[in-house]
């Protein structure tokens, strides 16, 4: 018998705004003026906060931080498609997304200055803390999604974010497969920023796209221009609508670029050229979104100045609050080892506090 084709696959790519901010009118999402402004404000705050944090780190006022510049559309736009009651399961390079989910900037400053207290999002209890071990959060997203249906929350969906490097981990593949088989309402959003520390995408995977990895698991996959906030929003919105309607998970690849170092401990000049970075500068997500808003007549330079002033004030206030804060109690780590009071732990706490007391007496602290 001759070979026959039993299935055909293709991967679509979505572009709505071009690099100059010109919109494709047929694809323009139905977003209100308020939402568009809200998104631009969030992206701008993220960009400015990121720059300030880098500055603080360089001054020794903050520990090692991941840097977010250039990916604001990829991580902010998806949040606009979520409800507060949806879950957000992130990685560690999505500052603006976390701010949109109600996390305070002071929290990020605390966390990256070595205080676990900065992991607590007091304004939203459906946002998980950052996840550092790549892809390890993705199976959690599946479990959260399954639990929402189990508990008959018919409307809840889960948005999970990760990077291109994470797609090599078993947890990524296992989570996609699990989500597909369980028909779990998860949106897997990959921020493909082209580099996993020094490792470029071409040696991370032989696949032409990350989106096509969805095909193997029998779920929809789409690639979008990750520096175009409208494309990212639209793809996520459609995936969210399907998930809410119990039509299963989706994989979205947002193609973007990490403009700076992996973390402040990294030196990208060792493994990539300035030319490559410069080429991506022309695709800046903020520049084109601003141009789009201006073309729509809902933004101008006065509003821009005011926004930057407001963001700066907000960042200043967060830095001020962070730097003037009293230290947290030293023995808090003993509080959270177990949910039960355990003698072994309490005996060690007592020893710890006695030692601290003695050191204070001797002026060692």
């Amino acid at each position: 018998m001759p070979l026959k084709t039993i299935d055909d696959f293709s991967i679509k790519q979505l572009h709505i705004l071009d690099e100059n901010g010109k919109v494709d009118p047929d694809l323009e999402p139905d977003l209100s003026e308020d939402d568009l402004k809200k998104l631009f404000q969030a992206m701008t705050l993220s960009r400015m906060a990121d720059a300030r944090m880098l500055n603080l780190q360089r001054q020794g006022r903050l520990g090692t931080i991941p840097v977010n510049k250039g990916q604001e559309a990829a991580f902010c736009a998806p949040i606009l498609a979520l409800k507060e009651t949806d879950w957000f399961v992130g990685s560690y390079r999505e500052l603006g997304a976390r701010l949109m989910r109600g996390e305070t900037l002071e929290n990020s400053l605390l966390l990256f200055n070595g205080w676990e207290e900065g992991s607590v999002n007091e304004n939203n209890d459906r946002t998980l803390p950052i996840s550092i071990v790549l892809a390890s959060q993705l199976p959690h997203a599946v479990g959260l999604a399954y639990a929402s249906r189990y508990k008959e929350e018919k409307d809840t969906v889960v948005l999970a974010m990760f990077g291109d490097g994470a797609t090599s981990e078993g947890d990524f593949h296992e989570a996609l497969n699990f989500a597909a088989v369980l028909n779990a309402p998860v949106i897997f959003l990959c921020q493909n920023n082209q580099y996993a520390i020094s490792t470029p995408l071409k040696i991370q995977t032989k696949s032409r796209t990350i989106a096509q990895k969805a095909i193997a698991y029998g779920i929809p996959g789409i690639q979008v221009d990750g520096n175009d906030a409208l494309s990212v929003y639209q793809a996520v919105k459609e995936a969210v609508d399907r998930a809410r309607a119990d039509e299963g998970p989706t994989l979205i690849e947002a193609v973007t670029f990490r403009m700076l170092m992996h973390t402040t401990a990294d030196d990208p000049t060792r493994y990539r050229s300035d030319d490559e970075v410069t080429a991506w500068e022309a695709k800046d997500p903020l520049v084109r979104f601003k141009a789009y808003l201006m073309k729509k007549g809902i933004w101008d330079e006065d509003l821009q100045k005011q926004l930057e002033k407001d963001c700066k004030a907000q960042i200043d206030a967060a830095v001020q609050a962070f730097e003037s804060r009293e230290p947290f109690a030293p023995d808090v780590p003993f509080d959270h080892v177990f949910g039960t009071k355990e003698d072994v732990i309490e005996a060690q706490r007592a020893r710890f506090l006695a030692r601290l007391g003695k050191e204070k007496e001797h002026g060692q602290n």
């Binding site: 090692t64 070595g114 550092i132 071990v133 947290f328 030293p330 710890f352 601290l356």
Partner: protein, 326 residues
């Protein structure tokens, strides 16, 4: 001989063995073009090329699993887990296969590979970048666990680990990577897998440590010495498993007193095993209970608090003094 730091000691050992043994190859995340995030593999890619220095996808389980295959086929892979906190993704390959293949096949297949991983606290890092979990590996029969403490022993022990016929987890105390320099005598190497190093001989008390805590231990010993003039015997464990029981027992029989210093959490760690060994073979020689100085049994705090929780020179000083005065 020039003095070098631990990173250079390790890097030189890799350069040397790769030049002399073409079955040795290096693989891991960012180990090639970038030279490793701590630069331990710096220059290898340029010198030995991509066939022998592999920048891999981010997949720790596949990194070790593939290395097991390479090792069974006669190569000697040296894999890097970028941080020990990411190594648990390969644990099932280590526990389920690397450690068991010799036993499973009754020696037909062996797995001579090395898994290098930076570990330990005190470098103001993010979560998962500061733990000391040597006991996870040490609890696995068939896996050797080696922890160098200084430039002088790091390179020679890495070479020995690569030449060893079995899987070796080689944990590098990242706090010590660049904090001090020593000369490394390649001609007179006395370091071997399974051998502790008696750094200083003495009659009053045995003090055992390993990894980054060695430096703090020596500082504490110097402080107590200057006060009391006691003569300590200092043992640098170097190999966690299989443990050099003879050296420990002989020393404790001589001194009758012992303090063990470990960076890891208190419960179920190597210090517990050392004390059990002393209990088995030297109990009747003890003049005082064996003390251990450790971290507390809490999740390793982020760096705002880590110094409060890690064992300090003053803790070691106090334990030595109390054990001497018991």
């Amino acid at each position: 001989m020039a003095k070098i730091n631990m990173v250079t000691s390790l890097n030189t050992a890799l350069h040397d063995i790769m030049a002399s043994d073409d079955t040795v190859l290096v693989m891991g995340e960012d180990v090639g073009v970038n030279g490793g995030v701590f630069r331990v593999t710096d220059g290898l890619y340029e010198k030995f090329g991509r066939k022998r220095v592999l920048d891999t996808p981010i997949a720790e389980s596949a990194i070790l699993g593939a290395a097991i295959g390479m090792a069974m086929a006669g190569l000697k892979p040296v894999v890097e887990m970028q941080f020990s906190g990411f190594s648990y993704l390969m644990m099932h390959q280590l526990e389920g296969n690397a450690s068991r293949m010799r036993t499973r096949s009754r020696g037909q297949f062996t797995v001579p590979l090395v898994v290098r991983m930076p570990y330990g606290g005190g470098v103001r890092a993010l979560e998962h970048h500061s733990e000391s979990k040597e006991v996870y590996w040490a609890h696995t029969p068939g896996v050797k666990v080696v922890i160098p403490s200084s430039p002088a022993n790091a390179g020679p022990l890495l070479t020995a680990a690569i030449q060893d016929p079995d899987p070796v987890v080689f944990m590098e105390p990242k706090r010590s990577y660049r904090s001090f320099k020593e000369t490394v005598d390649k001609e007179k190497n006395t370091f071997a897998i399974g051998k502790a190093h008696v750094k200083e001989t003495g009659k009053d008390i045995t003090i055992i440590s390993w990894g980054a805590m060695m430096r703090d231990t020596i500082k504490a010993v110097e402080a107590v010495k200057s006060k009391t003039g006691f003569q300590p015997e200092i043992i640098d464990l170097l190999t966690i498993s299989p443990m050099d029981v003879d050296t420990i027992v002989a020393s404790v029989k001589k001194t009758g007193r012992c303090v063990v210093v470990q960076e890891a959490q208190q419960s179920f760690g190597p210090a517990s095993e050392i004390i059990a060994v002393i209990n088995d073979q030297a109990l009747m020689y003890l003049e005082a209970p064996v003390r251990r100085v450790t971290m507390y049994d809490v999740v390793m705090p982020l760096f705002a608090r880590e110094q409060l929780y890690m064992p300090k020179v003053s803790d070691i000083d106090q334990a030595i003094t109390e054990t001497l005065n018991f």
